[in-house]
Amino acid sequence: MSKSESCPSCHRMVSQDVLEKYLMVCPECGYHHRLNAEQRISQIVDEGSFVEFSAELCSKNPIELEGYTEKLAQNQKKSAMNDAVVTGNCMIEGSKAVLAVMSFDFMGGSMGSVVGEKITQAMFEGALSHTPVIVFTASGGARMQEGIFSLMQMAKTASAAALLEKTAVPLFIVLTHPTTGGVTASFAMLGDVILAEPGALIGFAGPRVIEGTIGQKLPEGFQQAEFQMKKGFVDAIVPRDKLRDRLAFLMKTHGGADDGQEA
């Protein structure tokens, strides 16, 4: 018997086995549990097809902030990742793709030099191999511990997206819970197609900051994926069990960069 947990949304008890069978989506209410990069990759790619690149990249402490080096080490130990994004080549439903998956578990998915660099390298890998680039976002924004260097990663990833566009290679973004701050204000909003998981919080300023500005509670559903689609910033909301299929469809319909085609 696997252990059961109460769903944060509907509060029903769901066993871990059942949850995993349903891709970590509550079978009762459809609540999408947060995934780490490893879980996400195994759900999305054709089995055994993922080949990681840029794995060796590791943050320094560019503004020599007290405690940052230790914080990084803790997170690396806890997550078995070097930083908050994993990138690599893979196949999805038989089509070749460059995949980048952010992990909120690693310092809130925050973007510092390594995340910015890996996203940039992934986009350039896509450009050079003429392969669609898919990025799953999950981030609290820029990594404050890297000061101005983290802010500059917004410019870096956005300029990489500009170059990717110039090579006519598609960029598909999947916004997952939560995607905010400097990630929203850079590559996350620059996809040719932008998908979102149901219920994901997507915004620039966090809800508490906005509430502080306006001095009142935010309306129900504000900044959720459904709200963002209604406001015109998300192309489609795709439940987790349809993601592979929808991404495969998008890859097929964006310039035929399919298996075996090289630049």
Binding site: F124, L128, I148, L151, A155, A160, E165, G182, A185, M189
Partner: protein, 311 residues
């Protein structure tokens, strides 16, 4: 400068003089003093510098989609007869103006106006000069509804490939993504007492130090002054202010800005657009501190080769 403007400035200058800061002639100004000085009401803003350095200036309004954002100004000016598009964050010179200008915090339409004017400049081959002076983009309800994140993201992307020279000057507060939204260009300068950071020291203190009252300490730790950013090679150079600060002698700083603009544009306007954009992207591409492979140069060259206009 009109009479009212001048009075306001004088008023603020006298207030400034009361506010205790270390004597710049004997000691180096602390990061926190730079923060206070960069925010001080009465510090010359984009409108003042445009007024002081241009022979003539015509403001242009609106994003053509939603409205006109008073926290972001833009238009066409001339310096010694050369047409330049100016874009700048606009704070108020007093409380009433600040309310009207939303303390220099733009909504999405501000960034979209900036982009419209930048694309207009590109079409007519006019260089662009941006003046940055904002606590950040506005964290309000309407800003979110109209996609402040998307508006900034688009500017970062579009500005990185504009086919005309883009110079940016951080003249006061360079606050996070809201500043970066008009801060991607060929050259980035900071005034001596300006600051530029990923978050305000107050925000940094409350999130990382778990105590908003430790903002002064945060300001030092964040390394957000012109000197810090010069040392990090993020900015190209520091524009001098008189020892008391730019409010004391706006003319002095305006002259230095004007000289920088003229000198840079004399060089950059001669460069083929493709070269300009390649250099700009190379500079942005190289920012980041990490261990591991940094042999990105050849890859970038190969990517350029695949494009129609940058090969």
């Amino acid at each position: 400068m009109d009479k009212k403007h001048e009075d306001l400035l004088k008023d603020s200058v006298s207030r400034m003089e009361q506010f205790a800061s270390s004597d710049p002639r004997t000691t180096e100004r602390s990061s926190w003093d730079c923060v206070l000085l960069s925010r001080q009401q009465g510090r010359p803003g984009a409108a003042t510098y445009i007024d002081l350095i241009c022979d003539e200036f015509m403001e242009l309004h609106g994003d053509r989609t939603f409205g006109d954002d008073p926290a972001m100004i833009g238009g066409i000016g001339t310096i010694d007869g050369r047409a330049i598009t100016f874009i700048g964050n606009r704070k108020g010179m007093n409380l009433r103006e600040n309310i009207e200008r939303n303390y220099g915090m733009s909504n999405p339409e501000g960034y979209r106006k900036a982009l419209r004017l930048a694309k207009q400049a590109e079409k007519f081959n006019r260089p662009i000069v941006c003046f940055i002076d904002t606590p950040g983009a506005y964290p309000g309800l309407g800003a979110e509804e109209r996609g402040i994140g998307e508006a900034i993201a688009r500017n970062l992307k579009e500005f990185s490939t504009l086919q005309v020279p883009v110079l940016s000057f951080i003249i006061g507060e360079g606050g996070s993504g809201g500043a970066l939204g008009i801060g991607v260009g060929d050259k980035l300068y900071m005034l001596e007492n300006a600051v530029y950071s990923v978050i305000t020291p107050e925000g940094f203190a409350s999130i990382l130090l778990r105590d908003p009252s430790r903002a002064r300490e945060a300001a030092e730790a964040m390394k957000m002054t012109a000197k810090d950013l010069k040392r990090f090679n993020i900015i190209h150079d520091i524009i001098p202010e008189v020892p008391e600060g730019a409010h004391k002698d706006p003319q002095f700083t305006a002259k230095a800005i004007k000289e920088t603009i003229t000198r840079d544009l004399d060089t950059l306007c001669k460069k083929p657009a493709g070269n300009l954009v390649r250099y700009r992207i190379r500079k942005i591409r190289g920012i980041g501190e990490f261990e591991g492979s940094d042999a990105w140069w050849t890859t970038l060259m190969e990517v350029f080769k695949l494009t129609k206009d940058l090969h």
